[in-house]
């Protein structure tokens, strides 16, 4: 009787120690689900979802505080990917957070820019270069098109320009064939 109790107690202690050790040793930093959601989000950091950046939104989705259709830059395709990941139903973008727009980049009209640095401070991804009383310019390749620089500009010299299709970024279209006349 006593030996059985001892064996069980010993077993419990050993296994408990092993589990405790594993919990410390193999601790996963952060929430892996948040990472997965974050990697689907477009990283524009635009805040249109109502959260201050993509990661906070990912955290809110993971916690269940936010819906999956609040990210206009990700578009319907982004919602679809989130739905796939989380095993939920697809739903169209909620209108209140904005609509999906063609991909654009900010362009500074360099003749009007007064060098106030307000847009530099607003840019979440450091894609604008410039200094006080020096002309600013947008690094087009790094601009996420979040539009956060438009509002602070006191002289309205920033505009959003859609990215033009070029030979380099042109994509083959989905194959279609003409239906015979009359059958359509």
């Amino acid at each position: 009787m006593l030996s059985a109790l001892l064996v069980m107690a010993l077993g419990a202690v050993v296994l408990g120690a092993a589990l405790g050790f594993a919990a410390v040793k193999f601790r996963v930093e952060g929430d892996p689900l948040v990472e997965k959601i974050d990697s689907i989000l477009p990283q524009t950091q635009c805040g249109q979802c109502g959260f201050p950046g993509c990661r906070p939104y990912a955290e809110a989705i993971a916690k269940g505080d936010a819906d999956i259709n609040q990210c206009p830059p990700g578009g319907d395709e982004g919602v679809r990917k989130l739905a796939d990941l989380l095993g939920r139903e697809f739903k169209p973008l909620s209108g209140e957070h904005g609509i999906e727009k063609p991909k654009s980049t900010a362009v500074i009209d360099e003749n009007t820019c007064i060098g106030c640095t307000l847009c530099l401070q607003a840019c979440p991804v450091d894609a604008i270069v410039g200094a006080a009383k020096q002309m600013h310019t947008v690094i087009a390749a790094q601009c996420t098109g979040c539009e956060l620089c438009l509002e602070p500009c006191p002289v309205d010299c920033i505009s959003m320009q859609p990215i033009a299709e070029s030979v380099e970024n042109w994509k083959w279209k989905y194959p279609v064939f003409e239906l015979a006349r009359g059958s359509a």
Partner: protein, 519 residues
């Protein structure tokens, strides 16, 4: 002496239609009224324009400087005046425009000063730079910058250098004619490549439907006494001219998925590229022209040496397009691309201008459902399963398509050729590939944005901490100063009080002494 040859999987035997353009020697296309030379003609970064409108240029002058190492230079095709540097319609299926240098020839066709490059006394890196600056790119059709391929690989030397003269695509005869008429340049170029890559042997593979080319090449090898160079006739089967397929046929080596042929001591160049490398190094002439087959729906199919930038319609006019012509295809019927217009210029990738009509290439019958007969898998020279890749590409399940090695597809068109349901399989694969590329670019951009955003947050945090520390230090300093000042004040006040008390005491004493009490 016969060499043991190997075989590749699949392949098809389409009608070759090559004889018509082989009846006349290579012609020289005359200078057009205006050259439209696209700056971006090769794989890699787009070169930057080095000339401005109004500038005088000479033949062979650098007009587009390479952008980094994975890029290739572009040169003026003749002497004349730069009329504009502006976007013009590109020889590309999209029908989009890109930056071109427009040159009006002055008729003198005057070379810029050039001299042979002493490549034998140069380091491999210098030779590669020279080839890049001469604008030499692969002329087989893929226009990959050749300087990146003139590389002996990890082991320091190649076992086998393969020179690709197979030219398996129907209608195209430019390599055939070049081998017949200009074999000396090709063999000399192959010898240069052999020395640059320290190749143990050079195998020039030519399909056995080109006996004249094989004979001419063999005669030249004899005459030049070129060492370790052998002309090998390979069985005629499309696509024997694919780099991996020809390597397989000649050496038996099958380059696995995701590896390079140089990992196995083999490298492959086109015959035209070998000729261009000879011209660039031995004559110092940059690449400004190539041989182009004009075939299909024309009265007199023929090969021409055409300068880059010549409008395709000028070249087609030399052969007389038949009245029912309705399209221009760059390349052959299997892998070619339909051009948006006949005004687009001939570029480094233009091996053939195929003139088409409804009668010559009737529209395909409507696409029918895939019955999974597996004929496409039997025909695929890359050992892929096109019917699976088709299914996933069609359903836009790109991850799955990639699992079936979509990117090993060479777009040869064998699968679509044999498809009983007339499914344009290659169109689906091209669609899926470009979607996957676009997504990968987007993903890379998003990852970059995330990194910069996180860095920015960290920087803001650090700035805040630094500011707080600075403020705290300042506050402590002020406090200390105040405290010190306060102490001094206290001392002064104390002294004043003490003085006052002393004075009061003294006064008290004198009054009590001199003045008797009132009572």
């Amino acid at each position: 002496m016969s060499r043991k040859l190997f075989s590749f999987h699949g392949g098809v035997k389409p009608a070759y239609n090559k004889e018509a353009s082989l009846t006349e020697p290579i012609g020289i296309a005359p200078l057009p009224a205006e050259f439209v030379i696209p700056l971006h003609q090769s794989v890699g970064g787009p070169p930057h324009a080095l000339v401005k409108a109004g500038q005088q240029v000479k033949k062979g002058q650098l007009i587009g400087g390479p952008d980094g190492n994975v890029s290739s230079a572009v040169h003026a095709s003749t002497s004349g005046i730069v009329k504009a540097v502006e976007p013009r319609l590109m020889p590309h299926t999209s029908g989009l425009s890109a930056l071109c240098v427009v040159i009006e020839p002055d008729g003198k066709d005057e070379w810029i000063e050039h001299a042979p490059i002493p490549w034998r006394s140069m380091s491999p890196g210098e030779v590669r730079d020279a080839l890049r600056d001469a604008g030499v790119v692969g002329l087989g059709g893929a226009v990959f910058p050749s300087h990146l391929k003139v590389n002996p690989g990890k082991q320091g030397h190649l076992d086998t250098l393969v020179i690709n003269g197979a030219e398996c695509e129907p209608f195209i005869t430019c390599d055939d004619m070049q081998m017949r008429e200009r074999s000396e340049g090709i063999i000399k170029g192959a010898a240069i490549l052999r020395d640059l890559t320290q190749a143990g042997q050079v195998l020039i593979g030519v399909e056995d439907n080109k006996p004249d080319a094989i004979a001419a090449m063999r005669a030249t090898v004899e005459r030049l006494k070129a060492e370790r160079i052998e002309i090998v006739a390979v069985p005629t089967r499309y696509p024997a001219g694919g780099a991996k397929q020809l390597i397989r046929v000649l050496t038996g080596i099958e380059v696995p998925h995701g590896r390079r042929s140089t990992d196995y001591g083999v490298q492959c160049f086109n015959t035209g590229t070998a000729h261009a490398i000879h011209d660039a190094l031995e004559l110092g002439q940059p690449m400004i022209s190539r041989i182009v087959t004009v075939a299909g729906n024309v009265e007199r199919p023929r090969n021409f040496e055409v300068r880059f930038g010549t409008p395709m319609k000028d070249v087609v006019a030399l052969c007389g397009a038949k009245p029912d012509t309705d399209r221009i295809i760059m390349g052959g019927p299997m892998m070619g691309y339909r051009m948006p217009d006949d005004s687009v210029p001939v570029v480094k990738a233009t091996n053939c201008i195929l003139v088409g009509s409804k009668a010559l290439f009737p529209p395909p019958p409507p696409e029918m459902p895939c019955i999974r007969c597996g004929e496409c898998a039997k025909a695929c020279p890359s050992d892929l399963q096109p019917f699976e890749m088709y299914w996933f590409s069609r359903a836009k399940l790109f991850g799955k398509a990639q699992e079936y090695h979509l990117f090993d597809c060479i777009e040869c068109g064998c699968c679509a050729y044999v498809c009983g349901s007339h499914i344009p399989l290659v169109d689906y694969f091209r669609f899926a590939k470009s979607e996957i590329w676009a997504r990968e670019n987007e993903k890379a951009a998003a990852d970059g944005a995330r990194e910069r955003y996180e860095f920015r947050l960290a920087r803001e945090e650090r700035d805040k901490a630094e500011k707080a520390a600075k403020l705290a230090a300042k506050a402590a300093e002020t406090k200390a100063k105040l405290a010190a000042a306060g102490n001094a004040e206290d001392e002064k006040n104390k002294n004043l009080i003490a003085d006052a008390v002393a004075r009061a005491e003294a006064q008290k004493a004198t009054t009590s002494e001199g003045k008797p009490r009132a009572d």
